[in-house]
């Protein structure tokens, strides 16, 4: 870089640093250790609506009933009706009279959210103890209980993002408001 241009760009950086709320990063150490995405395969559990991050494996609701009965029903009850207001995961209608019951079926906008949450946080007393296949199976079962997919419909990394959730268009993104 020619010296003059370089001075100009350094000046620009300093100006940004001076006006930026937080300190500039120009004078700090760089201590991050490079790592590859393949080394993060067991660490990065994030599943996105477009299917990015969904693992290999698959499952159907028919397969999921046994897993659900063993690992989920104690809190969410036999058919997802729950044992408390917070554990209901089936039913509801956003357009119902009175206060709508908001569940996975009536409220959640993305099927990936169900997979992502079950995989990372459920069952609450032993999170991350289900295999990826079991997560697909249980998610399929919960979606089946909500009448969103069929009992033998296979969920996998390519079919799950295509599941249409009833309230997918029910949200207004406020993130542009600061």
């Amino acid at each position: 870089m020619p010296m003059l241009k370089r001075i100009a760009s350094i000046t620009a950086l300093l100006t940004v640093a001076a006006t930026s709320f937080l300190a500039s990063s120009q004078e700090t150490v760089r201590l991050g250790t490079p790592i590859s995405e393949s080394q993060l395969a067991n660490f990065d559990l994030i599943a996105q609506p477009n299917g990015n991050g969904l693992p290999a494996g698959s499952g159907t609701a028919r397969q999921g009933k046994a897993v659900y009965d063993a690992r989920c029903a104690a809190c969410h009850a036999a058919n997802g009706e729950g044992i408390s207001a917070a554990t209901i995961i089936v039913g509801g209608d956003m357009q119902s009279e009175g206060e709508p019951l908001r569940t996975v079926g009536s409220y959640w906008p993305e099927a990936s959210t169900v997979f992502d949450f079950v995989r990372r946080a459920m069952p609450a007393d032993a999170p991350k103890s289900l295999s990826d296949d079991e997560v697909y199976q249980v998610v399929a079962y919960v979606l089946f209980l909500n009448g969103i997919i069929g009992e033998d419909q296979e969920l996998n990394a390519s079919t799950l993002p295509r599941v249409e959730m009833p309230n997918a268009d029910g949200f207004i993104d406020q993130s542009a408001i600061h």
Partner: protein, 424 residues
């Protein structure tokens, strides 16, 4: 008892705030004889603690045994939600603006993980030129900044909107205790993101904690590059386990849940992940059944902390009405107080520094004449936002969902001096 030299500036006994500045409160407010300090109690003696040496220095300080043993208020454990729940700061017993670390509110989604910092990792991956992993030791070597910021759970005060009737047992702590304020020290997040090299298609970050729920939130990249920090210290000491030890994300002014604790991963993404805690939770369903999502800055808000719910005024006279104000969109420009349910207002004195996105202390003298009163405060922030009434929020968005409630709090005072939650 009324002193004619005291200037009334609004209805029902509100006095000019200058009277708090050493301009003549003493003569009127303290006119009632004090039985401990009065002339009838005989000559003053040197107390016994001035006649013998006390214990020496100690490794870790403790409160005076005579001081109020302040505690957070937490709910009862829920077997279907192990480790979940919240604890609330005792706002009505605190002064100034900084919350002591052990009293900072908490909200956990799967309990507090017992993290050995030597084994903790922070990963930055996704849409970056080079995914990176950082150790705690690495991070301590970076340039850090220190800023005073409030943190507020977006569920704070929700019961005030939810309930059709005032809470007869409500206190500042029970109704509004999910807000606290600390000096946070850490690394500007932009420093670490720049080091990994953000790719042009990235426009959000996904932040994930190392708790049992691996709680995750999506944050727009613009915020992450603006004033978000990786916080490592809280009021000078390592962040408390309940606040994310050894490190947390801190998004100044934004709903508390986005400041992911026990931060272990930041993934650069195109679009938000739609985590459970930004879809199923922390979203606000409106009367038309659409739901607001990604409501980030906490609205301008204030609260009288004294007198407040469950307190009693024991005698007529002048009281220091004081409270806290804050805004996720800037600093506090003005706080007004009403003693007549909002019919008339007077400007309060701002007692503290007016930091951006930090708790700010206000006060105003008020002469209680023994009658009934409704005390309220109303804050205005540096962006010109004015705190709305509870009723106007109710009219606008109903109460199907009660996150992000920042309406005016009313405290009623009856003629017995009892202070209670009120809707006015």
């Amino acid at each position: 008892m009324t002193n004619k030299n005291l200037e009334k500036v609004a209805g029902n006994g509100l006095l000019n705030r200058r009277h708090l500045l050493g301009m003549g409160l003493g003569g009127a407010g303290m006119a009632v004889a004090n039985t401990v300090l009065g002339a009838d109690s005989g000559p003053l003696q040197i107390p016994y603690w001035s006649r013998q040496p006390g214990p020496g220095a100690s490794p870790f300080g403790d409160r005076s045994r005579y001081a109020p043993q302040l505690e957070r208020m937490s709910g009862s454990p829920n077997p279907t939600y192990p480790g979940g729940g919240a604890s609330r700061s005792p706002l009505q017993h605190l002064q100034g603006t900084i919350t002591p670390n052990a009293l900072h509110f908490e909200r956990h989604h799967a309990g507090i993980p017992d993290i050995d910092p030597a084994q903790h990792k922070l990963v930055i991956n996704g849409l970056v030129r080079q995914p990176l992993v950082f150790s705690y030791e690495d991070l301590l070597r970076y340039t850090m900044v220190s800023r005073i910021y409030f943190l507020e759970c977006s569920g704070n005060s929700g019961a005030v909107l939810r309930r059709d009737t005032p809470d007869p047992n409500g206190t500042a702590q029970s109704l509004h205790g999910l807000v606290s304020c600390a000096e946070w020290t850490g690394i500007p997040l932009s420093t670490l993101l720049d080091e990994a090299g953000v790719l042009p298609e990235a426009n959000w970050i996904a932040a994930v904690g190392a708790d049992a729920a691996s709680m995750g939130r999506s944050v727009p990249l613009a915020k992450a590059m603006d004033d978000s920090m990786l916080a490592l210290f809280q009021n000078g000491e390592p962040v408390m386990p309940g606040q994310g030890y050894p490190m947390r994300l801190f998004n100044p002014g934004w709903e508390g849940n986005t400041s992911v604790k026990w931060l272990t991963q930041i993934k650069l993404t195109n679009g938000p992940v739609h985590f459970r805690d930004e879809t199923s939770k922390y979203t606000d369903t409106l009367p038309d059944r659409s739901s607001l999502q990604f409501t980030f800055p906490m609205g301008v808000k204030s609260l009288i902390t004294s007198p407040s719910g469950q307190m009693s005024l024991n005698q007529r006279g002048i009281y220091r009405v004081t409270g806290l104000a804050w805004s996720g969109s800037g600093s506090i420009r003005r706080v007004e107080v009403s003693a007549d349910g909002g019919r008339s207002w007077a400007d309060a004195l701002i007692d503290s520094e007016r930091h951006e996105k930090a708790l700010t202390r206000f006060s105003i003298p008020w002469e209680w004449n023994g009658g009934s009163a409704i005390l309220q405060s109303r804050a205005t922030d540096s962006a010109g936002n004015v705190q709305p009434t509870r009723q106007s929020i109710l009219d606008e968005r109903g109460n199907i969902a009660t996150y992000h409630f920042h309406g005016i709090q009313s405290w009623s005072v009856n003629n017995a001096g009892e202070v209670r939650d009120a809707h006015a």
